[in-house]
């Protein structure tokens, strides 16, 4: 538009305004027009600014909610929320605006954030509310909150959902705890094993000397000597139980119905608890049979029930419960983990004095007891722990001081154990292995484990034969798997001769049923890798591969 035409248009516009407003003076009209112009510009700028802030408000990954205080700053009403906020809290903005925070989030007071809102509104000082768990009937999750007050009095909460991070941290912490627990129990096991050997020698000396005194004397002296012998027998009993914890038992395992074992326990052992302890059985139908030593199930029941009896102060109810459980991912507890699969769960529950958080990490340690001197040996739970380790199961518990305890014992289903071995994929190989054991059955077992994994196998039934076989297959043999104890030439000696023959160190994996032949997975004589009999097929396959790859 040309400038003249533009000037005319503006004049017409002013005249129009003059007619509408009844103003006469051109000066007045011009001033008013300017105000209108400026207002329009300001409005446009405001709209632009609003759009900019709205996009900032929405674009951040964090939830932002704006509140107006009501009831003198006691409660807060939603004025706005951004899209991430809607997503985090799983709620639509339209269902929120104008509503009280205490109404939409009934857990906000318990969560602790309402107090922060009130403080920030009162003082104007912004505050960060550290990561905490929010929970109500509708939503739950770990939240990190930052709260501040706008100059016009509105309150703003900027928050983040850190649930996934928190869960990952928690899983890692649990894993660390388990590892620590396993290492601690292993160390305690080694210590117990050493201590019991020493103690048995000392006790043998004491019993022997006391027996000699008894034989050489009469009257009070002989009686006193008898007293010493009796005390030594009690000490020997403690040592035996300590050993039950540390020692790898050769359990007589068979397919066992856990419910039947519990019922048998009630029939035979429960009467011994007297009338003041009442037992309630709650046995689930359809339990998987377990692969276990029935006498050890009984021992577990006995130790846990004695524990409950003590926790109850001798009077009360002990509940024995069984359940079928199945995990589709690894089950973790502070006392160990279980691979996915089917289990029969045994629970022993009482409403006794419970276990405090301080006691909890120690309950499976030998000699840890909360009972008075002479009331308990502190070996009941460690023995349970040892038995479950042997059964590839798990014992764990839930308890609170003063609120009773529930011990949970997971026994792997028999079907599970037979399935577990071939299922896990330990890589095999095509190398040639020389296996030597004087027991043909052991060679047969190794053959069943290793042949399907692709290895070529050569066999020897003695150390001497192993050396001979090696001589004729020198070039092919990649690894020796030797029993340590064989009549004549033992594994270590055979290995030494073979190395001499080869003029180099030949890879070897030793095996023995005698656990003291090894220490930390190495032969205690020569320090070479070691695998314990009886074999876990996966373990043998894993070790063979590891030594070959070393």
């Amino acid at each position: 538009m040309d400038p003249l035409e533009e000037e005319r248009a503006r004049a017409r516009y002013y005249q129009q305004i003059a007619q509408q407003t009844g103003r006469k003076s051109l000066q007045e009209i011009t001033a008013l027009a300017q105000v209108v112009e400026e207002h329009k510009k300001a409005l446009k700028a405001l709209q632009e600014s609003e759009a900019r802030y709205r996009s900032l408000f929405e674009a951040t990954g964090r939830g932002i909610a704006v509140y107006r205080a009501v009831d003198g700053g006691e409660d807060f009403v939603f004025e706005d929320i951004n899209k991430p906020g809607e997503r985090i809290d799983d709620i639509r903005k339209d269902d929120l605006i104008g509503k009280r925070v205490t109404e939409v989030f009934p857990g906000v007071e318990e969560f602790g954030l309402l107090a922060v809102f009130r403080r920030v509104w009162e003082t104007g000082q912004s505050e960060r509310y550290p990561v905490s768990l929010y929970k109500d009937g509708r939503v739950q999750g770990w939240r990190d909150n930052y709260v501040y007050k706008l100059p016009d009095g509105e309150l703003v909460a900027v928050y983040e959902d850190v649930t996934e991070k928190k869960q990952a941290e928690e899983a890692l912490r649990q894993k660390d705890l388990q590892l620590l627990h396993a290492q601690k129990m292993e160390a305690v096991g080694r210590l117990s094993s050493g201590v019991s050997h020493e103690f048995n020698n000392i006790l043998t000396g004491m019993v022997g000397l006391a027996t000699l005194i008894k034989r050489a004397s009469a009257g009070q002296v002989a009686e006193d000597a008898e007293g010493i012998i009796a005390s030594c027998k009690r000490a020997a009993d403690v040592v035996a139980r300590l050993k039950a914890f540390s020692q790898r038992r050769a359990a007589a395992k068979s397919v066992v119905d856990l419910n039947k074992a519990v019922e048998e326990f009630r029939r035979l052992a429960v009467p011994g608890f007297g009338e003041r302890i009442r037992f309630e059985l709650d046995l689930a139908q359809g339990l998987d049979p377990v692969w276990a030593d029935a006498s050890q199930i009984e021992q577990v029941l006995m130790n846990l029930c004695l524990n409950s009896q003590d926790a109850l102060g001798g009077v009360g109810v002990v509940t024995l419960r069984t359940r079928a459980v199945s995990f589709d991912k690894p089950f973790r507890s502070p006392h160990g983990a279980l691979p996915p699969g089917r289990y029969a769960l045994l629970q022993v529950e009482d409403a006794g004095k419970g276990i405090s958080p301080e006691e909890a990490p120690h309950v499976f340690e030998p000699f840890f007891t909360t009972k008075g001197p002479g009331e308990g040996s502190g070996l009941g739970l460690p023995v349970v722990y040892g038995i479950l380790s042997d059964h590839e199961g798990l014992v764990t518990f839930e308890s609170e001081r003063g609120k009773g305890a529930r011990f949970e014992v997971y026994w792997p289903a028999a079907s599970e154990l037979s399935r577990r071995a071939p299922a896990a994929a330990v890589p095999g190989g095509t190398e040639t292995l020389l296996l030597a054991d004087d027991e043909p059955t052991v060679l047969g077992i190794l053959q069943r484990i290793l042949e399907p994994r692709g290895y070529r196998l050569l066999f020897a039934e003695s150390g001497e034969q192993a050396v001979k076989v090696y001589r004729s297959h020198k070039e092919e043999i990649a690894l020796l798997v030797l029993d340590i104890v064989m009549p004549g030439l033992g594994g270590c000696e055979a290995h030494a001769l073979i190395c001499e023959e080869a003029g180099r160190k030949v890879k070897v994996l030793f095996m023995s049923g005698y656990s003291t032949a090894q220490s930390m997975g190495r032969c205690s004589e020569c320090g070479e890798p070691f695998v314990q009999k009886p074999f876990q097929p996966e373990e043998v396959a894993r070790q063979v591969r590891a030594v070959l790859d070393a």
């Binding site: 043998t204 000699l212 104890v485 005698y514």
Partner: protein, 121 residues
């Protein structure tokens, strides 16, 4: 002629107690504090029964048992700290004749010894 016992144990008190118990019962008792010492004795003397501790300094356990059996026809009673069936199986395969648990019950031990030397008593 009295039956001859060889006690192999590194604990002095156990060697003493066993001697003092078995001598009055008509046994002749010799002692060794290690498997090596026992092997040296076996080169020179014969015994009717050998009592062998399964944990010794130096040569120990099944290895000591194997070496002793290679040099002697005498039955060996293993004195083990605990009941370990796997160990017992291996030891039996090697040729151990009997097992007694520590701490020793001396009556049981005497019974085992007498079973092994019946013709001499």
């Amino acid at each position: 002629m009295s039956a001859r016992l060889l006690v192999v144990d590194d604990e002095e008190v156990i060697r003493q107690v066993l001697s003092r118990m078995m001598v009055p019962k008509g046994f002749e008792v010799r002692c060794a504090s290690s498997a090596e010492e026992a092997l040296a004795l076996l080169e020179k003397e014969a015994f009717d029964v050998i009592l062998l501790d399964n944990v010794l300094p130096g040569m120990t356990g099944l290895r000591a048992l194997g070496e002793i059996l290679a040099r002697s026809r005498a039955p060996v009673v293993m004195m083990t700290g605990h009941f370990d069936p796997e160990f017992q199986k291996d030891a039996r395969l090697l040729g151990a004749s009997a097992f007694v648990a520590k701490p020793l019950d001396f009556d049981v031990l005497e019974g085992e010894i007498r079973k092994l030397v019946p013709e001499k008593r």
